[in-house]
């Protein structure tokens, strides 16, 4: 077991000890050396004191999914020390603070590297806070020596991080050098795992999906953001605010945006609905429990046909704790949110690049379809920095506001009935309040109306309306991002469906299985309603797997329901313990299922 540019290192820290920025810097340094990395925060629902981990996968091949297993554990947290040591792969390394001796009986099948971090800090620094913070930079220095990370790269990053604050930059650089020098004089290196400069990163960018979605909302023309703090979605609104301050403030300080931290999620979506009704692009960012609170309004928005964009960064279910872990478990609760016959559009970005693009697309789609649109992120892509294609924007692109009659159109005598299906696509024309003195006003309400928005409790009027809404949902199929198919190198009867953050692990699993001789056709679903090509893909394969990160195979339910498919056609591969799905898991599950099928056939 030895590898260059291919290993997993995990930092076990105490929350609030300042480790996050040092660990992030470690990942970025490797990236700057041209080697792909994928870091993941595994953090508690806590500000200070509880255990937190930062896992970095270094992969020359560019695998960005979680691998599973740890080759080098940087064990800085006494609380979790024993469990952390157990996680190290046989032949791997334990890096620990040797100021205190190692407890007896630590595994013999791993190599142990001790660096007296606390002692070095006490010796060199007087200020207790500085001792704690610079300890992280000290181990960064030590690790850079051991793993062959170029010191210039780290020092440049430190200078960038403390740009404009030289009084902070220099102590950090000094601490880094101190750690590096100590390791050089006292430790054995190189290790079996090393970083070597390469050229495998290209022009890709490194950012978290929430920031990307926030920026996408700026580009997509959102002007109203109403939100309520909830992990793991809070940074979406914060990023929107940051980028708005950068791009949307006039010279005189006037803002071309309005952000409201509402009193709860009900008010958040209410404000979004009010703004959408009144012709501004509006969004909210939330997570599963927030969506639960929003459901009454989502029903109203569906029936009253009001554009609304909801960024849902999915997490584990209720309570604190699991909410700092990832899942794709809100598929059904979003697709069918609310009372009555409702259906909502969902978009599933795979990474920050798509989070950016889909956020802008969601705002367009909400206006074009006059309905709520969910952007379904999850914690794994939302809160972790991910290497991805650079953001793209077409210089010619304008915001698609959909079917809106302005004063001129109303003045020219265009007939207007708010819920008339003029074009046969199920989408009616709307007017914004205040458009024309005597034309185009209507009274907005939920279900009880006729095509001209007049109050009506008549059955035929209700049916006409809900059938039109169904036609509109059919229209949505062609407007949403279409699925992406990757064919195996040879014809195969096995197909795999997957979506969202599962993407990198899925690709790695498919490569691995292909190397074993198992060919898989892949289809990445990017939106609901599912385009008909999803049904065709299922019917064209004898054996179909659907990979999801939830317990109940929610997308599978939606898929079977959408096309009235035989449930036996689709086998679910499900991962839902709160950690991001791995290639090992997917490949293992598919192997196991196929072996079982072969046995059944043989019997």
């Amino acid at each position: 077991m030895s590898a260059t540019n291919d290993f997993v290192i995990k930092f076990a820290n105490v929350n609030g000890s300042g480790s996050a920025s040092a660990n992030e810097l470690f990942a970025k340094a490797i990236l700057r050396m041209g080697v792909p990395v994928s870091p993941r925060n595994i953090f508690p629902s806590n500000i200070q004191g509880l255990p937190t981990w930062y896992e970095v996968r270094v992969s020359a091949a560019g695998h960005l999914g979680r691998r599973g297993g740890v080759d080098l554990m940087v064990a800085m947290n006494p609380q979790t020390f024993e469990a952390d040591v157990r996680e190290i792969e046989a032949g791997g390394y334990l890096f620990f603070d040797s100021t205190k001796p190692l407890p007896p009986g630590v595994r013999s099948d791993i190599e142990i590297i001790g660096m007296p971090l606390t002692m070095l800090c006490v010796k060199h620094y007087d200020d207790p806070r500085q001792r704690q913070l610079l300890k992280n930079v000290l181990y960064l220095g030590g690790l850079s020596m051991l793993l062959g990370i170029e010191p210039e790269v780290v020092e440049t990053l430190l200078s960038e991080q403390y740009k404009g604050k030289p009084q902070l930059a220099q102590p950090n650089i000094d601490a880094f050098r101190l750690g590096r020098a100590w390791a050089k004089d006292n430790l054995k290196y190189p290790l079996k795992f090393a970083v070597q400069r390469a050229d495998n990163v290209g022009d890709r960018i490194f950012i978290d999906g929430n920031s990307a979605a926030g920026l996408g909302c700026v580009y997509g023309g959102a002007t109203v953001c109403a939100w309520y703090p909830i992990t793991p979605s809070t940074s979406v609104a914060e990023a929107f605010e940051k980028y708005c301050h950068k791009f949307r403030v006039d010279a005189d300080g006037k803002r071309k945006f309005a952000i409201v931290q509402a009193e709860d999620e009900i008010a958040s979506i209410g404000m979004v609905v009010g703004a959408g009704w009144n012709g501004a692009r509006a969004f909210t960012a939330t997570s599963g429990p927030g969506v639960s609170l929003m459901t009454e309004f989502l029903g109203l928005a569906y029936f009253a046909e009001i554009p609304a964009t909801i960024v849902n960064v999915q997490r584990g279910g209720p309570s604190t704790g699991m909410p700092t872990r990832t899942q794709q478990a809100d598929v059904l609760s979003c697709a069918w949110a609310s009372h009555g016959d409702t259906q909502h559009v969902l978009l599933f970005p795979e990474d920050p690049h798509e989070s950016f693009g889909f956020a802008a697309d969601a705002l367009d789609l909400a206006d074009k379809l006059q309905t709520p649109v969910f952007l379904m992120l999850d914690l794994d892509i939302g809160m972790n920095q991910r290497l991805c294609k650079p953001f793209q924007w077409d210089a010619e692109r304008t915001h698609q506001r959909g079917k809106v009659l302005d004063a001129e159109a109303l003045e020219s005598g265009v007939p207007f009935g708010r819920y008339r299906d003029v074009d046969g696509d199920g989408i009616a024309y709307r007017t914004y309040p205040g458009t024309h003195p005597v034309r185009g006003a209507y009274f907005t309400r939920g279900t009880t109306k006729d095509a001209d928005a007049r109050y009506s409790e008549r059955g035929p009027d209700y049916l006409e309306n809900v059938h039109r809404l169904k036609r509109k949902f059919e229209t949505a199929k062609s407007l949403v991002p279409q699925p992406i198919v990757e064919r195996a190198h040879r014809p195969t009867s096995i197909g795999v469906l997957y979506f969202g953050s599962t993407s990198p692990s899925m690709h790695e699993a498919a490569q691995r299985l292909a190397a074993e001789g198992l060919a898989l056709d892949l289809m990445r679903i990017r939106a609901y309603p599912f385009p008909d090509s999803v049904r065709d893909f299922v019917l064209a394969h004898e054996q179909v797997f659907l990979v999801e990160q939830n317990r109940d195979a929610q997308l599978r339910t939606l898929l079977i329901h959408a096309f009235d498919l035989d449930p036996a056609r689709i086998t679910a591969v499900l991962h839902y313990d709160g950690t991001p799905i791995t290639a090992r898991f997917i490949a293992g599950a598919i192997r196991q299922r196929l072996a079982a099928v072969r046995q059944e056939v043989a019997a």
Binding site: D203, L215, Y219, G221, T223, V224, A226, Y243, K246, D250, K254, R255, K256, F257, A258, V260, E263, D264, A267, S268, G270, M271, V272, V273, G274, A275, G276, W277, N278, G279, A280, A282, E296, F297, L300, A304, P390, F391, W393, D394, A395, R397, T398, H399, T431, Y432, P433, G434, H436, P437, V438, A441, Y442, F443, T444, R445, G446, R454, Y455, S456
Partner: protein, 351 residues
């Protein structure tokens, strides 16, 4: 909410206001509320106020929640966009609409169940933020559409039609609004149009959160002896602190002496609210005094009405947010999208 539209014919002698509309142009569909319902009088007062203020009907957006009171926006301002939202959540929808377009006038109509029970949270926060709106609660102390259950504004000890006594203490939305920082707070009675119309006009001229609690008897479920929201009870216990006139900025304002029972409050648009004192010591520019006065009189079973508090220098939510003068819903791609070159810079910073 009715199947019947009113005939469009106007009598030629109907007076037109400065923007060319007759009072009929501010009406809506025919009401489906019970004959004698206080809410219909409030709708009529809104029609009168908007006509007198020369507001173009389409410049008003009217929003409501759910309940009898929330049905009424269909019965006035038929040429305004209206939105019958969800129960208790009108304030958030109104807030969003107001954020989208700062150039319209926002009129929220709600009931005591809508605003004091299910929606009290939204009521509270809309007042706190200073959303520029006129917020009218048509307060009858009961749930009408579900046939007469007590609401949270029902007085302790008041009796339902079936003779059941209410044991919970009441929510007083006026006191609450004062405490929350609303910059215009009034109470009136649906049976007193002479008081109500000027109050609505003043509220619509006010910049900031303007709240009017209008006691509006429910003839079907809460107009009996033992009720404290009946026509008879409110008439007997109505204690008006002032009467007011709205003097438009363009009219010459007659100078008055400070001690002759009149208080002038100048509004941001130059118009003046002229208050004629009925309570000699009452000054509606003093928030703490207003809270104190109302509490003392409530303890004696009196319903204090009139303009109870006004802060003419109030700043509204858009001012706090530093929003651009052009309404947000009118900004186009060029104004909102930072463009390709800026994105390249963002990309470069992420490597």
């Amino acid at each position: 909410m009715t199947y019947i539209a009113k005939p469009k014919l106007h009598h030629p002698s109907l007076t037109r206001n400065r923007v060319g509309f007759t009072r009929r142009d501010y009406e809506g569909k025919i009401s489906t509320l019970c004959a004698g319902c206080g809410h219909d009088s409030i709708s009529a007062a809104i029609v009168q106020a908007c006509w007198e203020l020369d507001i173009e009907p389409h410049r008003v957006a009217k929003l409501s929640g759910i309940g009898c009171s929330s049905k009424t926006p269909d019965y006035f301002l038929g040429q305004s966009h209206g939105f019958n939202t969800v129960h208790g959540r009108m304030p958030s929808v109104l807030t969003g609409a107001y954020l989208a377009n700062r150039d319209l006038l926002y009129l929220g109509v709600s009931g005591d169940g809508d605003s004091a029970s299910i929606g009290i949270g939204q009521f509270v926060h809309a007042m706190r933020r200073g959303v520029d709106m006129t917020y009218i609660v048509e307060n009858n102390g009961v749930y009408g559409l579900t046939k007469g259950q007590f609401s949270a504004t029902a007085d302790q000890g008041s009796k339902s039609k079936k003779g059941v006594e209410n044991t919970d203490s009441p929510v007083d939305l006026v006191s609450l609004a004062l405490q929350l920082g609303a910059s215009f707070v009034a109470r009136s009675f649906s049976g007193d149009k002479a008081q109500l119309v000027p109050l609505i006009k003043a509220a619509m001229k006010h910049r900031g959160a303007a709240f009017i609690d209008v006691i509006s008897p429910c003839v079907a479920f809460n107009n009996h002896g033992g009720s404290t929201k009946s026509y008879d009870y409110v008439r007997e216990h109505n204690d008006a602190v002032n009467r007011l006139d709205i003097i438009e900025g363009r009219a010459a304002i007659e100078v008055v002496q400070p001690d002759d029972g009149v208080i002038d409050v100048e509004q941001h648009d130059g118009s003046v609210i002229r208050l004629r004192k009925l309570e000699a010591d009452y000054d509606p520019r003093d928030r703490l005094e207003a809270m104190n006065f109302i509490a003392h009189h409530a303890a004696k079973g009196e319903v204090v009405t009139g303009l109870l508090f006004v802060d003419a220098d109030a700043r509204d939510f858009h001012t706090h947010l530093k929003t651009a003068p052009t309404p947000l819903n009118q900004l186009d791609t060029a104004a909102l999208c930072p463009g390709v070159a800026a994105l390249e810079k963002v990309n470069a910073g992420l490597r």
